[in-house]
Subunit: 62 residues, 6 copies
């Protein structure tokens, strides 16, 4: 019963999310031997002012 | 000091969230023996395009 | 499809966890109107040296 | 490679988030001995109707 | 900079985790268009007494 | 009421965790203007076989 949480920057299309959920589910079922039905994926989207890396907000990086 | 994170689909009313926080807090204090004041609950709401189950987005399921 | 993560100090018995999962699931189904089968609960246990409150580790508090 | 998730009430300014990411990153590199580049921070903002404490929603507390 | 958290039951081999990280990373880079280097994956393992489904602990299900 | 979750590799001493909690709490109270008592920090430690970066487990990187 893998539960997957994916945090990423906002701005991905519905098409990209559809591919993401399909491919990540396949990747998990192939590697840890569980049925597709057991995989739940939560996508969380962040604004660039809510992600920090190396002490700086993403919105301030170029 | 239980800290509870609840991820669920968006669309619940304020009344439902009020009941959720009251009842879940009671459920925890009764079962693990801690004071009400020690329980913190974070509710996170997802759009149907941000939840995947069995390789498909919720928004694409019927 | 509520997914619940509960972080709490280690040391609860199997009996307490059994009650926790049963009661929290009931609390959720009653308040947000979803079937029991849709509720998943992850319990995470912490050592007292891995919880901080008000700037101090729990293990250092009396 | 510390990964930090900070859940807090919404309403902080960009200036406050900038300070938060800078200072928390410094606090981590000083205490656990890792380079600044290794620290990632995710800020998650909650509405007052999505935070519960002691069985009550924040929005209902005075 | 996708950050992925995977919660699953304990008991997977090193070989399975190696495959999991490789395949999930590929799945993400292919679907949301980001470099491999940007993907971080945290695996969290649970005992069967720390997972609840439909009101019952996994350890109590057959 | 900031709630902070810090995921990092295992192996830090009690002394380092003590410093981490003290300094991160100060960093937060200074930047987002809240009392020390409102800050909760959860430290989660990972084995090197449970962290993946760029498609490889940490345990396999040199």
């Amino acid at each position: 019963m893998p539960i997957v949480q994916i945090d990423m920057l906002e701005g991905r299309s519905l098409e990209q999310k559809r591919a993401l959920v399909e491919k990540v589910t396949d990747a998990i079922t192939e590697s840890v031997n569980c049925p597709k039905e057991a995989v739940t994926i939560i996508i969380r989207e962040m604004a660039t002012q809510n992600l920090g890396k190396a002490g700086k907000l993403k919105v301030d990086q170029k």
